[in-house]
């Protein structure tokens, strides 16, 4: 099936939750009905010198059950929570995951069976495996076993691995909006044909250092919080929640229980401040507007809003203000915040809130706002649902969340009786645009450059100014002082530099930036800033946590700072895959342009070297790589092909197809199948054969015999002539997120020029080739693989 034939509606068919109020939707709902809160005295760690000592912790019994599960014993608690909630959701859905190759052809009469290659997982997390570093409480003596569990992507990968999934796997890192974004992303994966079902949700266990960070920002409420009410401040919680999303037609066919239809979602960035929301809620307003528009649901049809409603002074009034801009100052739509039931679950918040709300709606209720007494300033004329659940069966509802780094998400769900499937198709889904690459920018050992990357790599390989430790000397302050600020970490400087170069290269006007999308990939964010924050907590004590570095422990802070400095207010996301971030981000952005939701989207990826980053490399076995480590950032601009051509833009190449799989583990038969599956997917979407590929750009991590294995699998795909396979990392160095973007940009550059002559030398065999179609393949540390077909336009 080609891309153009995909147009699926998305059903929610399974729910799983783990939070302070219980370990399944039913028990959480029962306690919500009794107006109970799970926010109680903190026992997980000492809070002696902090201003608050309550939190929404899991009951000890729940925690013990997870900790005693041998199957997940090697994982960080974040992944273990995720596995628990995801298993629950999968079981609830009745879907049975069948390993794709078992017994050859699947029994098609078993409608509840799904091949493992047709189901993937999107996890949202705010802090990844931070507990694995806290366990050690000393950054100078990190051990490998725990440190290997820290990276954000590890949580999504571990969860997918535990459930035996081979479809698309990604970890969304947009802090407190992460699981809402993950659910939206997962729905796209199904609508765009990459999967038939997805597990999507979020997880964040209670972290001592994160608690200390909120404490130092004076955001915690020493008393149980009352969103929109009289007591200012939030309570932290913990937990995980997942939904199963699947194609509505298939769900109906197999008679699945349907909790709701995910009609669409919107993302935005405040482009305002690293921790504080825009005071008038302009960011959440844009996310809601986009969600309604993409869903083609008129705002009058929304009967209930599950708000972010943290209870802080900065959030609640701003959020109400943003909602009023959409629904009118006189709006009477019932609004509630679920956070006083189980605390603010950070990266899991959106998923926990959605799962518990959908379950409540199934019982004929919507959640209340526990502890709501009297409206606070700015919330007085909103229809806030009080402490009791309200008997209500909304036809459509919204679920909203907002985050540090300025990221916002809004989900639109249809929760009315679903057998009638007469809902009008989404307006934004009528177009099938082609995707052009119209700008390239990169910051590396060469400084900042644009219009391609191969000439930059060639120059830097000749006379490099890179230090022995792989650190580069780019300074944003020198490149563009107006975009620099005090203490700006290296990766933010690289990223802003690369994005500025790409914008200039594409000729994007300042006035266009507010509506231009921005999707960014980074596996680790600023490890230097993270280490400084954790260092302040570990060495001086939680009461002396560094407020200036705390906002950078969430790795969407890089995308957030870039959005803030450049005024990128539109569709904004940040993700991690552990090696293929650049292409993963491009896949996401290209999909948005294809369906007409965006005219242009900036796609970036970046890495930063630091001591902590070296520790992580060692723990992940990346020291084994034959390539020298490097740092930097690259950015490409994706545009609607017709609009770009009409506007006279320079078109480097067309992004014609993508394929994505999980489980491409080297030297395994399954791994070989998955690597082939990703490539086959990209070729099928591009509607070309392997024999039409002129060159393969392989972004290999380069561990022992890994590159040879990958080359072997790729060579096995070509029937007639075998295209050369080139890896740029021996010239450019390896950056976990950066390198995949460099390969994609290089593919566009070669497709544009049609020849390597005069662009890069020292790659034998390339001089005689005329490049039309370049296949880019990128693998991740844990075996996720993404492939993209990039073609010249002439």
């Amino acid at each position: 099936m080609t891309y153009a034939q995909q147009d699926h509606r998305i059903a929610v068919t399974g729910l799983g939750v783990l939070c302070a109020l219980g370990n399944n939707p039913e028990s959480v709902f029962a306690r919500m009905m009794k107006a109970e809160t799970g926010v109680k005295g903190l026992t997980r760690f000492a809070a002696d010198n902090l201003q608050c000592s309550i939190a929404g912790q899991l009951e000890q019994e729940q925690l013990d059950a997870i900790v005693n599960d041998d199957a997940t014993a090697s994982m960080d608690l974040c992944a273990r929570y995720a596995v628990t909630a995801a298993r629950q959701a999968l079981q609830d859905s009745g879907l049975a995951v069948r390993r794709f190759q078992q017994g050859g052809i699947m029994d098609v009469s078993d409608r509840a069976a799904i091949g493992s290659d047709r189901i993937g997982l999107a996890l949202g997390t705010c802090n990844g495996g931070i507990l694995s570093l806290e366990k050690q409480w000393d950054l100078t003596q990190l051990d490998d076993a725990n440190t290997a569990n820290y990276p954000f992507y590890q949580q999504g990968d571990d969860a997918a691995q535990a459930l035996g999934l081979n479809g698309p796997v990604v970890t969304i890192n947009t802090a407190c909006a992460a699981s809402g974004n993950a659910i939206g992303y997962a729905s796209d994966m199904i609508r765009w044909g990459y999967a038939d079902a997805m597990l999507a949700g979020g997880s964040d266990p209670l972290s001592h250092s994160v608690y200390a960070g909120f404490n130092v920002l004076r955001a915690l409420n020493p008393l149980p919080s009352s969103p929109f009410g009289s007591r200012y401040g939030l309570n932290l919680g913990e937990g995980a929640a997942f939904v199963v999303l699947e194609r509505l037609d298939k769900a109906l066919l197999r008679g699945a229980r349907i909790y709701g239809e995910l009609c669409g979602y919107g993302l935005s960035n405040d482009a305002h401040h690293e921790t504080a929301p825009h005071p008038e809620g302009a960011g959440i307003e844009r996310a809601v507007a986009m969600a309604l528009n993409r869903s083609a649901v008129p705002r009058e049809r929304i009967d209930y809003i599950n708000a972010h409603g943290t209870g802080t002074m900065a959030n609640d009034a701003a959020e109400i203000s943003g909602l009023k801009k959409i629904f009118g100052a006189e709006t009477t739509i019932p609004i509630s915040s679920s956070k006083a039931y189980f605390g603010h679950n950070l990266g899991a918040a959106a998923a926990v809130e959605l799962v518990t709300a959908l379950y409540a709606v199934k019982q004929g209720f919507v959640p209340g706002t526990l502890h709501y007494d009297a409206p606070r300033e700015g919330c007085s004329d909103a229809n806030i649902i009080g402490a009791e659940l309200r008997r209500l069966s909304p036809q459509y509802m919204l679920s909203n969340n907002a985050a540090f780094g300025g990221h916002n998400v809004s989900l639109v769900l249809r929760t009315a009786w679903l057998k009638d499937i007469d809902r009008p198709p989404s307006s934004s889904w009528k177009r099938r645009s082609r995707v052009a690459i119209t700008g390239i920018g990169a910051v590396g050992s060469w400084g900042a450059g644009q219009g391609g990357v191969l000439h930059l790599i060639g120059e830097s390989a000749a006379g490099t100014d890179e230090g022995a430790d792989g650190q580069i000397s780019f300074s944003l302050k020198e490149y563009d002082k107006s975009k620099y600020e005090r203490r700006m970490n290296k990766i933010a400087q690289f990223t802003i530099g690369a994005v500025l170069a790409a914008i200039e290269n594409a000729g994007l006007e300042q006035s266009e930036l507010a509506d231009t999308g921005f999707i960014y990939g980074t596996s680790r964010g600023s490890t230097d800033s993270i280490a400084r924050f954790l260092g302040s907590v570990f060495e001086k004590g939680p009461e002396y946590a560094s407020s200036i570095y705390f906002p950078h422990t969430v790795i969407n802070s890089i995308a957030g700072k870039t959005a803030e400095k450049l005024g990128l207010q539109g569709f904004n996301s940040s993700l991690s895959t552990g090696g293929s971030e650049g292409i993963a981000a491009a896949l996401y952005g290209a999909g948005m342009i294809r369906e007409g939701a965006l005219s242009a989207c900036l796609i970036g990826a970046g890495d930063e070297r630091s001591e902590l980053s070296d520790h992580i490399d060692r723990a992940k076995g990346l020291q084994e790589s034959r390539y020298a480590k490097t740092e930097g950032s690259a950015c490409i601009v994706l545009s609607d092909m017709d609009e770009a051509a009409a506007g006279g833009a320079r078109i480097y190449a067309e992004l014609r197809g993508f394929g994505i799989s999980h489980g491409a583990v080297r030297h395994t038969p399954d791994g070989e199948l998955q690597l082939r599956a990703a490539i086959a997917g990209a070729l099928a979407q591009a509607e070309i054969g392997m024999d039409e590929i002129d060159l393969v750009l392989l972004n290999s991590i380069g561990r022992a015999e890994e590159t040879e294995w990958e080359r072997g699998v790729i060579a096995g795909l070509a029937v007639k002539s075998k295209p050369p396979v080139i890896c740029l990392n021996d010239k450019a160095g390896y950056g976990e997120s950066f390198s995949s973007m460099l390969h994609l940009a290089a593919a566009a550059e070669l497709a544009y020029h049609g020849t390597a002559r005069g662009i890069i030398s020292g790659l034998p065999g390339l001089e005689e080739i005329h490049f039309r179609n370049v296949l880019t393949v990128s693998s991740s540390v844990n075996g996720s693989c993404i492939a993209a077909v990039v073609s010249g336009v002439r």
């Binding site: 920002l217 401040h273 005090r486 407020s547 200036i548």
Partner: protein
């Protein structure tokens, strides 16, 4: 204010400028000499923001043992106006006993 108090205030001001502001906030674009006693710290002047305000508060506790938790927000804002007002608060807290 006695002569000894004046010299104590001057010493506090020096520590506030160098250790509390420049070192702690890693201000790379200004020196202690350039920060005058009456320079506005937040918003205008030195241009610090709310996240940096919390760092200053934690720093006052770490460097001077001065806790500001019990001071109402509006009043605290006034105390954090400039180096002069911060130093006076520190001296006052010390005169009255720490905390």
């Amino acid at each position: 204010m006695s002569i000894s108090e004046v010299s104590v205030v001057d010493r506090i001001k020096g520590i506030v400028k160098q250790s509390l502001l420049i070192d702690r906030l890693e201000l790379e674009d200004i020196t202690a000499e350039e920060i005058t006693d009456d320079m506005i710290l937040f918003g205008e002047g030195l241009g610090l923001d709310s996240v940096e305000a919390f760092e200053v508060m934690v720093g006052m506790e770490e460097l001077f043992g001065v806790m500001v938790e019990d001071i109402p927000a509006e009043e605290l804002k006034r105390h954090l106006t400039n180096v002069q007002s911060i130093s006076e608060l520190i001296l006052l807290k010390h005169t009255k006993g720490i905390g």
